[in-house]
Symmetry: C2
């Protein structure tokens, strides 16, 4: 059955050939969707079996959140509060979440994940990436990938998140496990991507290269956490390995900017993380001005960024990273699609997925102009493409 | 008919005698409300005619938003976007809103205001102050106060917002009008408070003193916008005049901190304004550590802070102003009540208003820990105490 979204005051298509400016804006528009696919973008008044009248509101492609750690158990709000208050807190960080997640049953994890997915969906996210990385055993990583795969096709194996306590002092043994048996299990459980955390205290460049190499041989796409807490070799490694995306990019040197600008690797910025950890924000302006492609993602996780709101990320990108609102909206939609090497989401044109959000405002500017306000009136389209949630 | 909110995992009462810590936390609690008034706070399992089971969630007093400019027409998102991009933009600022508001019919303004009130109510605000200040003629200021009075008892006459174009170069004449005929009309229309904008380019200390003096003689309570854009005499004036609240307080000297600490005047901080104008944040730590009473408010207005979200203000207070989460929650509830000289809202104890919010989380920490996420599951109680909205 076809449906028309009609009386759109301002439509963001992200198709420059279809409308004005870089966002491809069409005014007084309607969009016809049939069987989850856009069949036509045109002036208002197109007809279909069903009609959604949005009364002049702004409509955008659904947000593409290309970096989350959504499958987890446990609560770390005390750690957040201590960090904000400048109090020392050795609660254990990621290990706390790993312990709680390992102990949780599949159904408990499903319920927790579905609650967060429903929240993200209400906030306008229609495509979401979910990483493993709180299992850190062969069985638990396979389980987390499998649970993520029930809800999204954008699943990432992050066995190389941290070194688990069982491998304390034996990092290379752990990396061998990640590259071997753990990867086999994750791939069999439906992982599409492999990722690693390249950082002091996590994994060095050689270890990350080994993980990414093994992932590529297993047929997975590559992504990398890099340059979050310190300047390091991660961004260069990601570019060298042709990763789809390198995420965080807080501490960049000139060489990193140049390398990203000359590459196809998307720089995925996670400003809600910098907000919730009181870290500096990445220099988005330099990246964009140099010609790098930038995506925005939530990094939803219980430690450093417990938000599902892409609108909040957009507001931070504009306020704190001096991105224009057009750049921020693009980064949260088609930018995220690029980070996932998808051309069927993050835009609204014939043939793309019919995933759209109706904003309770006349213009996309309001996503930054009205910070903290839940402006997404309606989210059209399933989250993740596997099964509708929420 | 009485109602019990039952199975509260963590109840914030703001009554230190009733529970733990400065927020008066009671665990495994229930609250009985009869005819909009709290009749009992106790362990879970109290009985009443109706029962709301919140399944272990956190419950707080409804937010008290003591500073808004909610009655207005027109859109200034382009001005916001230009400011964020560092582009010059002489759109006219407050005058743009004044022109649009004067042209709007009463019913248009009612619809716009009710939409914003409903949004604020969904976000947990149960008591709200609304200022005039976009009329700036005798008739229009009376009209805006009257429209605000239809929705809240906390109405503020802000004729001394800016000098309207008709009085360009004749500031003293305009002040005489504000203190005379305009005040008479606003008071007759139901203003409870008088306010002025003490700032370079708006009104100086003598002019503000004249306005506040006239307001006091007319029986109104006093509040003042001060030290927003520059250091100036406003905070000292507010303390000298025993204002209930002095709002903004971004640029403070040692004398201002000392004066506030030694006074009953509440320092109302508006961090969403500093977010949306890329101004520095007030030094909340120094104020609190010196002993001043601090409130948080949204300053919802179309120019400098178009948010209704008190949760967003709490998250900013913690991240940017280094307030503890307990200080921020108190400032957004009982702090706002203090700024309005109310002891019946902002707390949950026998005799107080039964205005409460159910947070979709086990703890109030989540209001800062989960920025941008609309965590208010249910708002109990009418907004403003005049008539339920939304």
């Amino acid at each position: 059955m076809s449906v028309v979204i009609d009386n759109i005051g301002q439509l963001v298509t992200n198709d420059a050939s279809a409308g004005e400016g870089p966002l491809g804006i069409v005014r007084d528009a309607s969009v016809v969707i049939d069987d989850d696919v856009v069949v036509s973008v045109g002036r208002r008044g197109q007809v279909a079996d069903e009609r959604i009248d949005v009364h002049g509101a702004c409509v955008l492609p659904g947000f593409v959140d290309s970096h989350t750690h959504l499958v987890f158990a446990g609560d770390r709000s005390e750690e957040f509060t201590a960090r904000m208050a400048g109090r020392p807190y050795d609660g254990g960080g990621i290990r706390v979440t790993t312990t709680a997640t390992r102990s949780a049953s599949d159904d408990e994890l499903r319920d927790l994940t579905d609650g967060r997915l429903a929240e993200a969906h209400r906030a306008g996210t229609t495509t979401i990436e979910i990483k493993s990385g709180y299992g850190l055993t062969v069985a638990d990583e396979a389980r987390l990938v499998s649970l993520a795969r029930e809800r999204t096709s954008e699943t990432t194996f992050l066995g190389a998140h941290i070194v688990p306590p069982e491998y304390e002092g034996r990092v290379d043994d752990y990396v061998a496990l990640v590259c071997g048996e753990m990867l086999v299990g994750a791939a069999a459980s439906g992982a599409r991507w492999i990722d690693a955390f390249c950082e002091i205290g996590a994994f060095d460049a050689d270890q990350c290269r080994a993980v990414l190499d093994a992932g590529r041989r297993a047929g997975l796409g590559l992504r990398l956490h890099a340059n979050q807490l310190h300047h390091g070799p991660g961004v260069q490694l990601a570019v060298e390995m042709h990763c789809a995306s390198v995420d965080h990019c807080t501490y960049l040197g000139d060489d990193d900017i140049d390398a990203l600008a000359a590459s196809e690797t998307v720089a995925t910025l996670l400003p809600a993380t910098d907000f919730s950890t009181r870290q500096p924000y990445p220099d988005a302006r330099r990246l964009i001005d140099a010609g790098a492609t930038v995506a925005l993602a939530s990094n939803c996780n219980p430690g450093s960024s417990y938000t599902t709101s892409m609108s909040f990320c957009i507001a931070l990108a504009v306020r704190e990273m001096h991105m224009t609102i057009e750049e921020a909206v693009a980064a949260a939609t088609i930018g995220g699609a690029g980070a996932l090497q998808r051309d069927d989401v993050g835009c609204l044109k014939p043939g793309s997925k019919g995933h759209a959000i109706v904003v309770d405002a006349p213009s996309y500017h309001h996503l930054a102009y009205r910070p903290g306000v839940p402006l997404i009136r309606t989210t059209i389209g399933p989250l993740g493409g596997v099964r509708p949630v929420g």
